[in-house]
């Protein structure tokens, strides 16, 4: 068992006109850690993973597994196991042969192969299917065979590329916990790629958020949620994502206020020390708050938010209300170029996660309470968090 360390790794595909698919990535996955790489489509997750596997060459930087730089080592000598999105099971082999193939190639004795395959099958609850061919298995079973093929190897690290994306929603939830359980059981360093932030949050010891080949932030799921390093991470993590609106900061009579449209918000005292707000007085910032910080009962909260309900989604346990918060910006928006107007409009839409019994009517105006304990501030240019680092 070992750790996996990316050291300023860059990948430029030939023919990509020098545009890197992975850009200067430094990341270290500790021994036994479950690291999730998450990000939107095309952000370079698969590329990063394939470089660890040795299936893609590294343009610059190094990748080390267990302290050994692997840049020029063949995949088979890296002692890693990989789970592919489409499972890539060998169609002509049975489940047992699929799982034992890597051991057979490595010349492991038959008895030991059988024993290890049996063990893996037990962990994965595949005992009954050992003699079937992949064709005769359900999607979930195939997925588990793919997992089994990885775990019998007892490798230095597991690499998994969206292993759950071909499963239906319910099975995905089931396998999510299953994979996490097995990984904890085996304690092998794991790099897990997904574009699904729920998977990332529920499975990872730590989560690395990528965007356009650049690492945005690496943190535990909770820290990622509570302290997003930039607007992108804030908008990517959480479902529904964080509300981000444009607001002007000003200061008067010793208090800081954020203005948006014809409303304003009192910024609690505490943010002065944790955020670099002083430089931003009189300027525009991106203000962020989570959907659950909006509450229907507006008598107990610090502040209020008036909005028009555009859309109401009842999920049974809760209601998602999609709101337009500023009534008079719409006029101004018409004067802006379309793309800018689009951005502003997006930044004046918010979502509220309300309790199921809230009375919300589409088209009506409502006043919600806003808890201001967890506000976020971002630079509107580039989206960096205005939080002051205290490490």
């Amino acid at each position: 068992m070992a750790d996996v360390v990316f050291e300023r790794v860059t990948k430029i595909y030939p023919g990509a006109n020098g545009v890197p698919a992975v850009n200067d990535l430094s990341l270290s996955v500790a021994d036994g850690e479950f690291m999730v790489l998450v990000g939107p489509s095309g952000c370079g997750k698969t590329t990063a993973l394939r470089m660890v596997a040795g299936l893609e060459e590294i343009s610059d930087g190094t990748i080390a597994i267990g302290g050994t730089v692997m840049n020029n080592v063949l995949p088979k000598d890296r002692d890693i196991a990989m789970v592919f999105q489409n499972y890539a099971l060998y169609p002509q082999m049975t489940v047992a042969q699929n799982m034992g193939f890597a051991l057979k190639i490595r010349g492991v004795a038959k008895a030991e192969i059988a024993q290890r395959v049996g063990e893996a099958a037990r962990i994965l609850r595949l005992d009954e299917y050992l003699d079937r061919r992949p064709k005769a298995l359900s999607g979930g079973q195939r997925q588990r065979v793919a997992m089994g093929r990885a775990i019998v190897r007892e490798p230095q690290a597991f690499l998994m590329d969206e292993p759950l994306s071909n499963l239906d929603a319910q099975l995905r939830v089931e396998m999510r916990t299953e994979i996490a359980r097995i990984q904890r059981l085996l304690g092998v360093a794991t790099v897990y790629v997904t574009h699904d932030q729920t998977e990332a949050m529920t499975m990872g010891d730590r989560v690395a958020v990528l965007r356009g080949g650049l690492l945005q932030q690496v943190d535990t799921p909770q820290d990622l949620y509570d302290f997003p390093a930039n607007e992108f991470v804030a908008g990517f993590i959480g479902s529904p994502p964080m509300n981000l609106i444009l607001a002007n900061l000003d200061e008067g009579q010793g208090v800081t206020r954020a203005h948006f449209g014809d409303q304003s918000l009192l910024i609690p005292e505490q943010y002065r020390s944790t955020h670099a707000l002083a430089q931003w007085i009189g300027r525009q910032v991106v203000l962020g708050f989570r959907p659950e910080d909006l509450v229907a009962d507006n008598s107990t909260t610090d502040d209020l938010l008036r909005a028009r309900v555009d859309l109401r989604e009842a999920l049974g346990s809760e209601i998602l209300a999609y709101l337009a918060i500023t009534s008079n910006t719409d006029v101004v928006l018409d004067a802006l170029p379309t793309s800018d107007a689009e951005t502003v409009r997006k930044r004046s839409r918010v979502v509220a996660r309300l309790s199921a019994r809230t009375d919300v009517v589409e088209g009506s105006l409502i006043t919600l309470g806003l808890t201001t304990d967890n506000l976020h501030f971002f630079d509107p240019n580039g989206g960096r968090s205005l939080r002051v680092l205290t490490s």
Binding site: T10, G54, D60, N72, Q216, Q217, D223, A229, N230, S385
Partner: protein, 313 residues
């Protein structure tokens, strides 16, 4: 409250160490390329030695006179001489006339494929029967055809039976009609292959499209003309190419057993002329030249076909 946001902490790279793309090829990539080369090499050698090099040699041969014993260099004028040779034009005329059979070699299989596609009870048995002649050698088909067209053959027996005893034919023995017999045999020989192609094409037709048209009140003919045929275009093109190629280069067996190219030159095609010139008359140079002319004609057909395909895409 430590935040480990890497992008915020990162020191900018020093200008000197500015990253340069290296495209260094990994060990695996090198192995892959080497294996790729190794695996293609035998094919490359085989095709080079037995197809590409002989084309070059043929060009050289075509400019010599070679009677099997002595070789004399003639040069490019061998080509101009060939173009003044009436035999070659006579033979090319046969090739051109044989092209008249192409519409039949496509049309008849198209009808048969549509028949089969109706899927009446037992259609699979019929399908097997219709395709069966594709399995047998054109030598065999030629043999049977010869006895069909012969003076005392089946064709004349049939005419007797129909009461046309006075109009006995001798298609193969007659200079003006032997080519017709050859063409008919050729059409028969192509039916299996082309039917197979069209039937595969029809199988990929989406039946719901046809149903929708039928509900809209389109007649069977309209459906065939405006849905089926356009859908089959690619298959018809492929069948067309295969048929033309066969007409130019696969008739050897038929000619060899049915007519030997005669009477006179009446059933000699370009490919048969190559054989005759080279092996009956031992004029290797001229034979090579004729072979190249055949090749050029087929290239022209190929390019023409590519243009057709290109125009459609």
């Amino acid at each position: 409250m430590a935040i480990s946001a890497l992008d915020l902490r990162r020191t900018p790279r020093r200008a000197g160490s500015r990253f340069r793309p290296t495209y260094s090829t990994s060990l695996l990539t090198r192995r892959r390329r080497r294996m790729g080369l190794v695996l293609t090499l035998p094919a490359l050698v085989l095709i080079t030695l037995l197809i590409v090099v002989p084309i070059g040699q043929a060009v050289y041969y075509s400019m010599t006179e070679w009677n099997g014993v002595t070789t004399t260099w003639i040069g490019p004028s061998a080509w101009t001489q060939a173009f003044h040779n009436p035999t070659m034009w006579r033979v090319l005329e046969n090739n051109a006339l044989l092209l008249l059979s192409v519409p039949f070699a496509l049309g008849i299989p198209l009808c048969i494929a549509v028949l089969l596609h109706q899927k009446v009870a037992g259609w699979k048995i019929f399908r097997s029967i219709y395709f069966l002649p594709t399995a047998i050698s054109w030598v065999v088909i030629g043999l049977v055809a010869e006895h069909f067209f012969a003076y005392s053959g089946t064709l004349n027996s049939m005419l007797d039976w129909l009461g046309f005893s006075h109009s006995h034919t001798n298609l193969l023995g007659n200079e003006s009609t032997a080519l017709i017999a050859l063409g008919v045999t050729f059409i028969f020989s192509m039916i299996g292959t082309n039917t197979m192609l069209f039937l595969t094409g029809l199988a990929t037709l989406d039946p719901s499209q046809e149903e929708a048209a039928r509900i809209d009140g389109a007649s069977s003919w309209k459906i065939f003309r405006h849905i089926t045929i356009p859908h089959l275009t690619r298959f018809i093109q492929l069948a067309f190419v295969i048929t033309i190629i066969s007409a130019f280069s696969a008739l050897f067996s038929l000619i060899f057993v049915m007519t030997g190219g005669g009477p006179g030159y009446s059933t000699t095609t370009m490919e048969f002329l190559v054989y005759q010139t080279g092996f009956a008359q031992a004029q290797f140079g001229t034979a090579a030249l004729y072979g190249l002319i055949l090749f050029i004609i087929m290239c022209v057909v190929g390019v023409f076909q590519l243009r057709l395909l290109g125009a459609k895409d």
